[in-house]
């Protein structure tokens, strides 16, 4: 009896999980479906069966070059993530293992920078970028996205590091490990799931960031977010073409997320059952 109840509960939970997943994934799925429809089909109403045309992808590619914004997205997302990790790992280490009275305040202050609407600092940022020659450069965008996502990276790493027993680091210190060796050879290997998930999440955030990436670029450093924006038309509802452009833009990050889902889930639930 108990086993029957347990099996039923498991089945219900599984079905519920699939339903929730489908609801969350549906907008993306529908975008992909719409990209294979003709424009009249796309506007006609909700339908899950497209005619299967590839003309939107051909049209999108003929109107704009996909490769350049794709490479810009890769460079900016990966670059900003690596720099953020380089800064955040020592910062999170010091706050997790050598906390002071002000550590919590510093963490809160870091997070508070995320609370200000980005548009509030658009003009000062634009002026700084103009004067330093960083407008429409990958370097400039990489720096901005590093700073934009740094609070989240520090917070996530701080949470993971706090799960690692401080005694292990003490033991390493007693064995004569230097600070560098302690972080690189003891702490980092233990925190790899957390670092990996932070890295993946940060790449996703940087890949999808559209406020700064559209406003601080023109023709040279514009990533895929600007590529999508260029297909929004004031003269007609070209939903199928827009869907094809969106599918091309999100496909790389979706594939990456799919293949690294184990690391992502492992990292995000790290210490959750403690």
């Amino acid at each position: 009896m108990a086993r029957a109840v347990s099996t039923r509960r498991k089945t219900i939970a599984t079905v519920a999980a699939w339903l929730v997943a489908l609801v969350i994934f549906f907008p993306i799925l529908y975008t992909v479906i719409t990209s294979f429809k003709t424009e009249p089909e796309a506007i006609a109403g909700i339908s899950l069966i497209p005619s299967g045309t590839f003309e939107n992808y051909v049209e999108v590619q003929s109107q704009r070059d996909y490769f350049k914004p794709f490479m810009n997205s890769v460079a900016i997302a990966v670059g900003s993530t690596l720099i953020a990790l380089l800064i955040a790992v020592p910062a999170a280490w010091s706050m997790a293992f050598s906390p002071t009275r002000r550590t919590k305040d510093i963490l809160m202050w870091m997070l508070s920078t995320k609370m200000m609407p980005a548009v509030g600092v658009l003009v000062p940022m634009y002026l700084i970028f103009r004067d330093t020659g960083l407008l429409d450069t990958r370097l400039g965008l990489t720096m901005v996205l590093t700073l934009v996502n740094l609070p989240i990276v520090v917070w996530m790493l701080y949470t993971y590091f706090r799960e690692i027993p401080g005694e292990i680091l003490e033991a390493a210190r007693m064995d004569g490990a230097s600070l560098w060796n302690e972080i690189v050879h003891v702490l980092t290997p233990m925190a790899i799931p957390g670092i990996a998930s932070t890295m993946l999440l940060n790449i996703i955030l940087a890949w999808n960031e559209s406020f700064w990436t559209i406003r601080l670029t023109a023709a040279n450093a514009a990533p895929l977010t600007a590529f999508i924006a260029s297909f929004s038309s004031p003269q007609g509802l070209f939903w199928a073409k827009l869907s094809a452009a969106s599918t091309l833009a999100i496909a790389p990050i979706l594939i990456m997320g799919w293949f690294s889902q184990r690391q992502l889930v492992r990292g995000l639930t790290f210490g959750a059952v403690k």
């Binding site: 634009y126 429409d136 260029s230 929004s232 038309s233 003269q235």
Partner: protein, 437 residues
Amino acid sequence: MKLRTYLVGACSALALAGAAHAETLTIATVNNGDMIRMQKLTDDFTSKNPDIQLQWVTLEENVLRERVTTDIATKGGQYDVMTIGNYEVPIWAKQGWLLELDSLGDDYDVDDLLPAIRGGLSVEDKLYAAPFYGESAMIMYRTDLFEKAGLTMPESPTWEFIGEAARKITDRNADISGICLRGKAGWGENMAFLTAAANSFGGSWFDESWQPQFDQPEWKETLQFYADLMKDAGPSGASSNGFNENLTLFQQGKCGMWIDATVAASFVSNPTDSTVADKVGYAIFPSKEGVDNHGNWLWSWNLAVPAGSQKAEAAQKFIAWATSKGYTELVAEKEGWANVPPGTRTSLYSNEEYKKAAPFAEPTLAAMDAADITKPSVKPVPYTGGQFVAIPEFQGLGTTVGQLFSAVVAGQSSVDDALAQAQQISVREMTRAGYIK
């Protein structure tokens, strides 16, 4: 062998030097059919000007407006050519943000530009932007539905006639709305239509001393007429319909009439996209009986050179090419006369081939000729602009008022409440901005 190597090296160096010498123009533009077509035809320009390369930044209209405004206000210098509307041109020119277009070439024929369009792009008789395409507004209606209902569109229709006709054509069972009008909030969306409509009802945004006029009977009559009409004969969800949504509805045969930008005529009469292409008639923007005003809607997308550009000469060369008669002929040769950018040059409307290919040519010209943005209202006003008020504050104020009026169509607010709030907000904003002392 050695000599050949040296020669190849020298040629490569020369080629590199040549490439380094080539100027690259960055052009910011919107994603619409005419602009995309221009991007495809630029080989013609670059082959004639091998020392100039072009790179494009294409953005959605509102994002583009925000981007170029930030760039030009901060002298960012990101763009060498900007696509801007006739709302921005006089404001930016007075700020000293745009270069005067004074070297478009001897064969440019600036006098061929439509006077109304040219006037909107000039400050003190100096041209600050060249029009790429222009538009006014007019009625597009279904001739088959009119015939079925026993209606004949008058040469100069009144709002009273439009109201009666729309209600008569409406057939909810057949999913046909008598009229489709903009309801989506925004200074360039519902407020473009409502500002022009208020002009044609005898109203205005401000009086001569910049006092807002929403408490006057003309605005009450305009908004009440619009709200009642949308309720009786408009499509469902009209409060979220803008130009694009109404275009789709009309093309699908779901609207009896549509009053909007003249540029839509080429889309609704194109059999590839429109199911009613051969059943569309055109008429001038309506007015209230006894009021000699057809809204004065006039819009153009224009190419301008920001004052910060280091490549002004090359930029003007490109603008001269893109807005010339030669470009019109190039489009006609490659894509047909019906696809040439409309509404900028007088000569286009005397071209028999164009008139033959574009049945909407004459009504478009009539609509543009009827628009006078220097006298938007029958009352004396201190501003210019037809479907907008050419002051920097209008973008924000127009959008706020647009939200109030959109709420009326959505049934969330009454006409009186919306007008009272619009009046209150406008007085406050105009006082803050220093117009009202």
